[in-house]
């Protein structure tokens, strides 16, 4: 019963925000909000792999790309037709698009999840650094493949994706990934992931099937990266392989590291911060990347645990502060 209430309440809230946002703010701000949301999904999904389980995955953009292009192809070749048919049957546009969009997003996520499985399984016996290189190689291979496959537009890009993704969908994606991550973290399965991060040998010796769990982290992380990619595709209406380079993977890593590996709220905060930062630094555009790289270096030297370490932002923190201030 409690769950149903929360679910209904969230949907209502998202619909309200979706309605209000474009009417309260100019399109530029709305765009930044949307990109924030997509980056939040990317950061939290990567945190599952890098932060919770301690695996070195540095090719996350590859999973995003698969989700983006996969969902785009599903929509272009099937979804558009369904939406049109539903619309012709009298169903209002928003609902007619909702079904096909959901199918496309889940489809893209599923394709990315499969990729996560294929990358994860053979690589897991590799030591940390080697896994990093394999994931890097994977990301690059995906990009090169996309560049060379004409059916998805190749270097010219893929236009003509209906722009069905609005704040409702991005918000729903965000809430889903945060929920899944938090519920995992505070369960025995999450504990298993953290155990693998802290000491894989001990975890295995205590009955945790480390291989299965490492692959699981990859699959779930990749799934949500794919969903983020799908939202990205259906928001921009156009895809280009240059959006999915190693640099994109690094940006997501930076968010996870800045936020604190293992902290979901940290990833959310950092994703928002690091999406806003380039916008705020637009005046010094030339120096932006230099400052970005300096930030990474200085962060690692001075505060490698990031903003939140592995703690979470909770209401209890604020209550304690108020109590302390009142005392």
């Amino acid at each position: 019963m409690k769950h149903a209430v929360w679910l209904a309440g969230s949907i209502v809230a998202l619909l309200a925000l979706n309605f209000a946002l474009p009417r309260l703010f100019n399109p530029y701000i709305v765009q930044v909000v949307m990109l924030c949301g997509i980056n939040v999904i990317l950061a939290v999904s990567l945190n599952l792999i890098n932060g919770f389980t301690g695996q070195f995955s540095i090719g996350h953009a590859g999973f995003m790309a698969i989700g983006a292009y996969g969902s785009a192809m599903i929509t272009i070749h099937a979804g558009k037709g369904w939406a049109a048919a539903l619309g012709a049957a009298g169903i209002p546009a928003a609902l007619a698009q909702a079904g096909p969009l959901l199918v496309a997003l889940l489809g893209g996520g599923l394709l990315a999840a499969i990729a996560g499985y294929l990358v994860g399984l053979p690589s897991l016996r590799l030591r940390g650094d080697y896994l990093a290189i394999v994931t890097l190689g994977f990301g690059e291979i995906i990009r090169v493949l996309i560049l060379n496959i004409d059916a998805v537009g190749g270097a010219r890009g893929l236009p003509g994706i209906p722009g069905w993704a609005n704040f409702f969908w991005v918000g729903a994606g965000m809430l889903s990934v945060i929920l899944v991550a938090r519920h995992l973290a505070t369960s025995t399965h999450g504990r298993a992931l953290f155990a693998i991060r802290d000491d894989e040998v001990a975890a295995e010796a205590l009955g945790v099937d480390t291989t299965t769990y490492k692959v699981l982290a990859f699959v779930i992380g990749a799934f949500f990266a794919g969903v983020a990619g799908g939202l990205f595709a259906h928001y921009l209406s156009y895809l280009n392989p240059n959006s999915f380079t190693f640099l994109k993977s690094i940006e997501v890593i930076a968010m996870v590291v800045l936020g604190g590996m293992g902290s979901v709220s940290g990833s959310v905060l950092a994703a928002i911060l690091l999406t806003l930062l380039p916008e705020l630094l637009r005046p010094v555009k030339d120096y932006r990347m230099v400052m970005y790289s300096l930030m990474l270096i200085i962060l690692m030297i001075t505060r490698p645990q990031g903003l939140m370490g592995s703690r979470e932002l909770t209401l209890a923190m604020f209550r304690r502060r108020r109590a302390a201030a009142a005392a």
């Binding site: 519920h183 025995t188 399965h189 001990a202 295995e204 010796a205 205590l206 009955g207």
Partner: protein, 268 residues
């Protein structure tokens, strides 16, 4: 159970790394309820025996039977699920997690709620999680670690860390517990407490314990039977009294100082 009723049987087990035979043709029978000691000079292959039993390595030759069924070649988590858990020579706690979490993780193999239950927070999950936390707390209580429930494991004093490792291994509900040098680094008082703890744990949880130790007081004091390894070979097996006076054992440990230790153990 095998014909001879042993809980664990090692049958001509050999573990070879390249040119080095770490364990050579080892045969061992451990009866249920026993407190069995495994001793020998450094490098004798004792931890390797543990590693082979728990599946970290698959033996180069030979068999390992647990409760009559072969376990050699199984992966460590499968061995743990069969009912064998262990502690490590160099403490391997999950340092960033609190003590309760460390113990809970060992209970993972007995979790009844699946992944979907956890994500969707079904009543099944809530019940299961509450049970795991409660059992972890009880175990910490029994081991005298209740006050450190919320403390990260890395912040515990050394002696308590060793206890936590044992508590964690117990949470796996093993029938056979492997302790790898549990007294390492403990002072005489702590060692005394540890000896009582191990005997208590053996009784209370109806366990069988296989113990690697260098501290002769511990070995001679609490073990019913002892096997001695040297360069991967078993050179003696028997009761503490028999081992104490075995010339091959004394020679392997190089003589008089050890003789004195073994003698001291007799008085304990």
């Amino acid at each position: 159970m095998t014909g001879n009723g042993a809980l664990l049987t090692l049958d001509n087990v050999t573990m070879q790394f390249g040119g080095l035979k770490a364990v050579c043709d080892l045969s061992l029978d451990i009866a249920p309820g026993e407190l069995f000691g495994l001793i020998g000079p450094n490098g004798a292959g004792k931890t390797t025996v543990f590693n082979v039993i728990t599946g970290v390595y698959a033996p180069t030759a030979g068999q390992i039977l647990f409760e009559g069924k072969p376990i050699h070649g199984l992966k460590p988590h499968a061995v743990a699920r069969r009912g064998i858990t262990r502690t490590f020579q160099n403490i391997r706690l999950f340092g960033s997690r609190c003590c309760r979490d460390n113990v809970c993780i060992a209970g993972h193999q007995h979790a009844e709620a699946g992944l979907a239950d956890a994500v969707f927070r079904t009543p099944q999950f809530t019940r299961d999680e509450a049970r795991m936390q409660r059992e972890a707390r009880e175990l910490l209580e029994v081991m005298g670690l209740a006050q450190w429930e919320e403390t990260p494991a890395a912040d515990l004093p050394y002696g308590q860390q060793r206890r936590l490792e044992i508590a964690r291994a117990l949470a796996g509900r093993p029938r056979l517990l492997l302790l790898d040098e549990p007294a390492a680094g403990l002072n005489p008082l702590e060692t005394e407490e540890l000896m009582h703890l191990i005997e208590e744990v053996l009784r209370r949880f109806h366990l069988t314990i296989l113990l690697i130790e260098h501290d002769m007081r511990v070995v001679m004091g609490i073990c019913r039977r002892i096997a001695v390894l040297d360069y991967g070979l078993k050179i003696a097996e028997g009761t503490p009294a028999e081992i104490r006076t075995n010339p091959k054992v004394i020679e392997a440990y190089l003589g008089e100082e050890v003789e004195a230790d073994l003698g001291a153990g007799a008085g304990a």
